[in-house]
Amino acid sequence: MKIVATYNIKGGVGKTAAAVNLSHLAARDGLRVLLADLDPQAAASYLFRVRPRVKGGGTALIRGGAGLDRAVKGTDFAGLDLLPADFTFRNLDLILDATKKPAQRLARLLRPLTTSYDVVFIDCPPGISLLSEAVLHAADLVLAPVIPTTLSLRTLDQLTEFIRGLDGHKPAVLAFCSMTDRRKRLHKEITQRLPAEREDVAAAAIPALSVVEQMAVQRSPVTAFAPRSAAARAYAALWDEVRARLF
């Protein structure tokens, strides 16, 4: 089982859209996929029409046992399950802090899923916190969306620096340009230059297109409701690169 976390210190960069579309593509490839929506904003849960509610909330989830198994819901897509968000997830830092070895807690919680899933995607809330540290400890690959601007690139460096400083397990990082606007020269220039210069940046880039925003209207991955769109093709190219790094 491989664990992929869509994560960035910055918010609003396309983490949830990437997690939703890539998990759909992975399931379409025949893999058994779980998407864990750890963001209390519950956008991924909303997009899959699953009510953001976990019995017992974050406390029950982090305690382990049957709580995680009971909370998982099937989506409308074969092979793709969702661990919905819950509003109490806003306190996951505090809940984790009350456990022994909090940074390793998430990895231990996910271990029993090995026989049930081939890939687990974790949609993380933004920021640097105890939760993000636990996610990074659990993940095999951190998928970091980056808006092609100078400030965003600085955040990517902060993220790689943060991961380098972690004790023990360090996940691989794959950044990709997100919300790219081809009318902007800087976007165009960074999107072309970055993958050539850095091995940890994917060649695929996700364009800022209204069809991606339509996901919230359709409540479905763009790869499902508009599979031939430029955005869906971009996610498919990104999934090819992610898959090649995972398996």
């Binding site: 899959f48 029409r49 699953v50 009510r51 198994d69 909370a71 998982v72 819901k73 099937g74 989506t75 409308d76 399950d81 409540r219």
Partner: protein, 516 residues
């Protein structure tokens, strides 16, 4: 987590099924077509002795639009699929495309071929059942099956409701709504069973076991007649598969039925009307002898790969001319056997034998089944103790071969009268006997194989095969010889265990139990 399903049959000819479902679920749930309906050809596959069925599995070969698929489903939600374009049935699992499905099937079917158990055309439509959030909470598959048999009529539409994970409660609510509709009935009958039922058949019908239900007080003659009729049924059930050479087990089961029949005729001759056993024993000996060459070659070929893998000074590829030689001889013997099974002599024999058995009536005086079973088992057991006890390190192989036959007689007698015995005592007795039988069987098989290798070597030398082939056969013979010596040296220990005071006591309990 297991798959949560509900199955229904829909028998209302007035309303289309989709309309009935919509009416049943409105306004709480909506019904959304998931894909265009499609027509599939479904062939259910299993071995002749239903090994998949007994393991709780169903295997289907599905053709329609797109590539042909094999779908293996288990009762606990297991599902493995594989593309299997152009597969012709019957087929051995080892001949299927490699992958998890073949691995799973090979372990279960072993030497038995997969053959069609039933065929049907299937019109399948799938619907998403959505809640107020337009979230799919369950899948509904509507399957209209039409058995592929002349004159067969279509089955009622089958509605299979499968819960999406985490929506079991809503799915159960949907099931209750459906069940309340006129013409909708819950069903537990799997599709294969439903298709077979239209032809008056049931799955899992065949077993090579002597499963007759005897009572202790019934006349021994009628008990023996029931056993012999059951053996004749098994024999006849395997004739077509043996003639078509579908797999080696058809001949094995046919041959075992003949052997059991010969044993029953020998041990129970006195229970039958005078002259009957004497009349049929030569006929069944003819039949038994007919099956020997092909079965001996089958055993050799089935163990060939293992033997070749154990070569020490030659490569398995060097044995190819020998394998070819065995396969050709087997093909010739099989043709001879098939001809004999198609002959008037064979059909007359089985027909007359069935007539003789069904015409039997209870004698005015004679033992009951329990006493006859006790005597037959006791005598057979004593014979083994006497003859086995007389075998020493210097005894010729024929003595061991003879003892093997006596062991088979006892084993068959135990099987015939199993329903009269306490199951635990029966199992213990069989276990004690089996240890001795395995040792004698290995010894005999090795002797047969050594004789075949010597005969083949002479034949192959005459046609000028490469020296490497003969050297490899020598290597193989050395290994077979080693196995033969090992079996021979194990004999005294195995016999001592069988003849031990504890084992004798077990057989005594069995005989007393049957005779009580």
């Amino acid at each position: 987590m297991g798959v949560h399903t509900h199955d229904f049959a829909y028998t209302d000819g007035e309303r289309p099924v989709s309309q009935a479902v919509r009416e049943a679920l409105a306004p709480r749930f909506s019904v959304v077509p998931a894909a265009r309906s499609r027509t599939l050809r479904r062939t259910w596959l299993d071995t002749f002795d239903w090994r998949l069925r007994r393991a709780g599995l169903t295997l289907e070969y599905v053709t329609g639009r797109g590539p042909a698929q094999l779908v293996l489903c288990g009762t606990a939600g297991e599902r493995i699929t594989a593309v299997a374009n152009g597969t012709r049935w019957p087929a051995l699992a080892e001949g299927l495309p490699g992958g998890p499905l073949r691995d799973r099937l090979q372990g279960l079917t072993s030497v038995r071929a997969l053959l069609p158990a039933a065929k049907a055309a299937s019109r399948v439509a799938q619907f998403r059942l959505c809640n107020a959030d337009a979230k799919t909470v369950a899948w509904l598959t509507v399957d209209c099956l039409h058995p592929s048999r002349p004159g067969a009529t279509g089955l009622p539409a089958r509605l299979s409701l499968t819960a999406v994970r985490g929506y079991r409660g809503q799915t159960d609510r949907i099931a209750r709504c459906l069940a309340a509709q006129p013409g909708v009935f819950p069903t537990t009958l799997p599709p294969l069973d439903a298709v077979l039922a239209t032809a008056g058949q049931a799955p899992g019908g065949y077993t090579n076991k002597v499963d007759v239900d005897l009572s202790a007080a019934m006349p021994a003659r009628m008990a023996l007649a029931a056993v012999l009729l059951r053996l004749l049924d098994t024999l006849e059930a395997n004739v077509a598969g043996t003639i078509r050479d579908i797999d080696t087990e058809f001949l094995h089961d046919l041959r075992v039925s003949v052997r059991r029949t010969r044993t029953a005729l020998k041990l129970g001759a006195g229970l039958l009307p005078e002259g009957l056993a004497g009349e049929y024993r030569p006929a069944f000996k003819w039949l038994g002898d007919l099956t020997t060459p092909t079965r001996d070659l089958d055993v050799h070929l089935l163990t060939f790969a293992a033997g070749a893998a154990g070569l020490t000074s030659a490569s398995p590829a060097d044995l190819e001319p020998f394998h070819h030689y065995l396969a050709e001889r087997r093909a010739a013997e099989q043709r001879r056997l098939a001809r004999a099974l198609r002959s008037a002599r064979f059909t007359t024999l089985t027909k007359a034998w069935r007539g003789a058995l069904t015409g039997l009536t209870p004698p005015r005086r004679g033992p009951d089944a329990a006493h006859a079973a006790a005597r037959i088992i006791g005598d057979a057991h004593r014979r083994i103790l006497t003859r086995g006890g007389a075998i020493s390190a210097g005894s010729p192989p024929e003595k061991l071969h003879d003892l093997r036959k006596r062991c088979k007689e006892l084993r068959y007698a135990l099987e015939f009268f199993a329903s009269l015995h306490d199951p635990a005592s029966h199992r213990r007795a069989v276990r004690e006997l089996k240890g001795l039988q395995d040792c004698l069987g290995t010894y005999q098989d090795c002797q047969v194989q050594l004789a075949e290798i010597r005969e083949a070597a002479a034949d192959l030398l005459a046609i000028g095969v490469p020296a490497t082939a003969l050297l490899a056969m020598g290597d193989l013979a050395a290994h077979v010889g080693e196995r033969e010596r090992r079996a021979r040296s194990e004999f005294s220990g195995r016999f001592a265990a069988f003849a031990s005071r504890e084992a004798r006591a077990d057989f005594a309990v069995l005989a007393a139990g049957a005779g009580a």
